[in-house]
Amino acid sequence: MARIIVVTSGKGGVGKTTTSAAIAMGLAKKGHKTAVIDFDVGLRNLDLIMGCERRVVYDFVNVINGEATLNQALIRDKNCNQLYILPASQTRDKDALSQEGVGKILDELRKEFKYIVCDSPAGIEKGAHLAMYYADDAFIVTNPEVSSVRDSDRMLGILSSKSRRAELNEEPIKEYLLLSRYSPDRVKLGEMLSVEDVQDILSLHLLGVIPESKSVLNASNSGMPVILDEKSDAGQAYADIVDRYLGEDRPHRFIDEDKGFFRKLFGGK
């Protein structure tokens, strides 16, 4: 059975596209056939983060309008043959996406893919609504910062009342917290909300903490999902997140200020 994952946050700039690219790549690298869809019509950027911006011919809206087939629009990833990208359209028409259109495409994708990752736009407008509407699982990307936490809570309200599962009275969407841009040393100084603080407020299951990391900008600069940078802390954090999502037991890392996990384990300096 295919699972549809929405990566959402309400607030912009918290790392939704970075996360979508990373977890889609992570799932595909684990051998699961995965599609990642950009729902940000008019402001597409997933293609750039995935490094396939020059291979976009057809897009999501072309497929909905019947101007191209799904297979024509899907771009196979250059690093992993189990991963496909469906880019957003650059049209300025806000109503380019329709609920039935999106539903039809997702049904078609479900037949072929194990995981379908929906990269939501910021805000709570139509694109964000459609990205989460058909979801089975929701990854709530939150920064340890007041406006992001508030918007995440607002998003949780929308997931539990406006989704297909909510409307049909089915089992609710499974919600997971991904706390990104985390700085353990600032938390220690009392300058940043801690993991526990955010969990106290949102009461969500923590899937993982992604530390503030230089590797994220380096990855987007070069069009490689950060999870491929296996040496980087952010890359490892996303790899852990994928493993945990798939049911493997991975202790949480990157929460304490001492970055060297092994150094801490062996009591080194």
Binding site: D153, G157, D197
Partner: protein, 88 residues
Amino acid sequence: MSLLDYFKISKESTASLAKERLQILVAHERSSRNQPSYLPQMQKELLEVIRKYINVGQDAISVSFEQDEDQETLELNIVLPDLQPKNT
């Protein structure tokens, strides 16, 4: 004790301030999220009716809506003004 520790103890951290503010805000927003959409309008109309008869302030009325598994409760509270002392 280092100088840093001294500052940490003497001043409330901004993180705990953030948490406190968020807890209050989120609780408030969650309670209003589950309310029926007619509630604000109903509250306004009720207040108008009451004000025809009793001179109460705009904030003298509070409506709260609660929902559990098998029932919905609508609680209406009106604070009446203090009785005027009788003229002799």
